[in-house]
Symmetry: C2
Subunit: 226 residues, 2 copies
Amino acid sequence: MLIKTSEQGTLADVATHRLAHSIVTGELEQGQKLNEAELAERFGMGRGPLREALRHLEGMRLVTRVPNAGARVVVLDRKTLSDLYAVREALEGMACRIAATQMSDDEITQLRKLLDQHEAQIKKQGGKVYAQKEGDLDFHFLIARGSRNQMLMHMLGSEQYQLLRMCRYRTSRNAERTGPALQQHRQIVEALAQRDGELAEMLMRRHIQGAWRSISEMIDREEQIE
Amino acid sequence: MLIKTSEQGTLADVATHRLAHSIVTGELEQGQKLNEAELAERFGMGRGPLREALRHLEGMRLVTRVPNAGARVVVLDRKTLSDLYAVREALEGMACRIAATQMSDDEITQLRKLLDQHEAQIKKQGGKVYAQKEGDLDFHFLIARGSRNQMLMHMLGSEQYQLLRMCRYRTSRNAERTGPALQQHRQIVEALAQRDGELAEMLMRRHIQGAWRSISEMIDREEQIE
DNA sequence: TTTAACCATATTGTCGACAATATGGTTAAA
DNA sequence: TTTAACCATATTGTCGACAATATGGTTAAA
C-alpha cells in the first residue's frame, strides 16, 4: 500500500522499513530493547546501516535512544497518544479546510469510491476490521494530499501515520466505531464537494475527537484489566 | 541558548549540532552539496558518525538526501516557506489555545519579562535586530511549552524551529517588523493572562500571518533583483 | 544483612578499508 | 558538430575490528 517492505534503496532504508513494520504490527513490543548486533544479523547486514536506520526511526518517533545505552521501541502511553491526537486534530482540520479549495473534482470522486469500497467491505465481512482501518488511513492521506502542502503531507504521512498504525494494531480487535466513522467520512467528503472548508474542518475535528474518545476508553479498560 | 554547540553525547550528536548551526547561519549555502569525507575531516571524526548525523538532519528537514548521490542543504523556496508558515499557524494557534488554560501564572510572568527585555533592547540598540529575532523564537517556544504537549513542543521546537532560524538569518537585515511584532506579542500574553484561549489563538494566527506576509514580500523583492 | 567497590561481559561508539555506484570528461562514430 | 559509449575519478555504501561505555553479578567491608 503506502509502505514498501523491501525498498530498492540502501540497506539502511530496508532496515528502516522492516523495523517500522515490526514495530507497528507489535512484533516488536513497546519498550523493547533493540539490540544492534542481533537485528543486523537478522537482516543480514552490518551494524552501520542498522544504526542509520535507528537514527531515522528516532526522528519518526518510533524508537527512543539514550546515548551509549541503545534504542528502544517507543511506548505509547495515554499522555503520548493524547498529545498525538490533539496535534492531529489541528493538522487534519487544517488539511480539510485547504483541501476544500484545492482538491480537484477527480480527487473527490476518488474519495467517494474509497468510501464505497469501505461500505461494501463492512457489509460483506463485518469481522475483518483490520483492512478497513488501513483504508481509513488512506482516506486521511488523500485529504492531506489534497491540501497541496508538502510539509503537512510529510507530517501526517511519514511521521504520525506510523504511530497511528501502531496504535491501531494495538486496539484493532474492537470494531465498534467503524459504522459511525464511515458516516462521518461521508459527511466530510460532501463538505469537500461543496467546497465548504469551514464545515469540512469542523467535521474532521469532531471525527478525530470521536476517535480519541474511543481509543481513550479502550485504554481505560485495558488499564483496569492489568 | 536553546542550542548547544558541543554536546556531551556521541560524535554523531556533535556533528548534528555543528551542521545544523552551519546551515542555519548560512555558512553552508542552500542547495550546497555536503561531502561526507570533507565534513568528517573538518570535524575530526570518521564518516560513520557523520552519516548518522546526516540522517538525523534529514529527519529535521535541514538536508535532503538522494540514495547513492549524497546530501544537500535544503532549499527554502517560496512554496516550502509558505507551507511551513501555514503549518505553523495551525500548530502555534493550537499551542496558544491550550497554553491559555495550562500555563502557570509564573510562566506568564516569565513571558512578560521576556517582552520587557525585548522592548529595552529595541530602544537601546535599534540596529541589533539579530538578538531580537532569536528572542522571538524564545517567546514562541515558551508558549509551546505552556501547552504541555510534548509532541507539539518537539515539532515546533526541534524541527521547525531550525528551519525558521534558517529563514530568519536569510532575512535578518530587514527590521521593519520588530515594532508591530512586539505589540502583537504583548496582546497575546494579555490574552493568555486572561485565560482567553480563543482570543490568544486568533492573535497568534494573525501574528504568524503577518510574519508570512512580511517574509513573502521580501522574497518578491529578492526575486526581482536576481 | 546491607552497601559499596570491583570485575567480567555485553553492548554501543568509532574508525579505516574496500565495494558499489555516480559523475564528468574524453573518444569515437554518425 | 552532435551524440552516444566508455573510462577514470570521486563519492557514497558497507563491513569487520577495536575502543569506550554500560550492565549485572560477585566479593568484601561495614
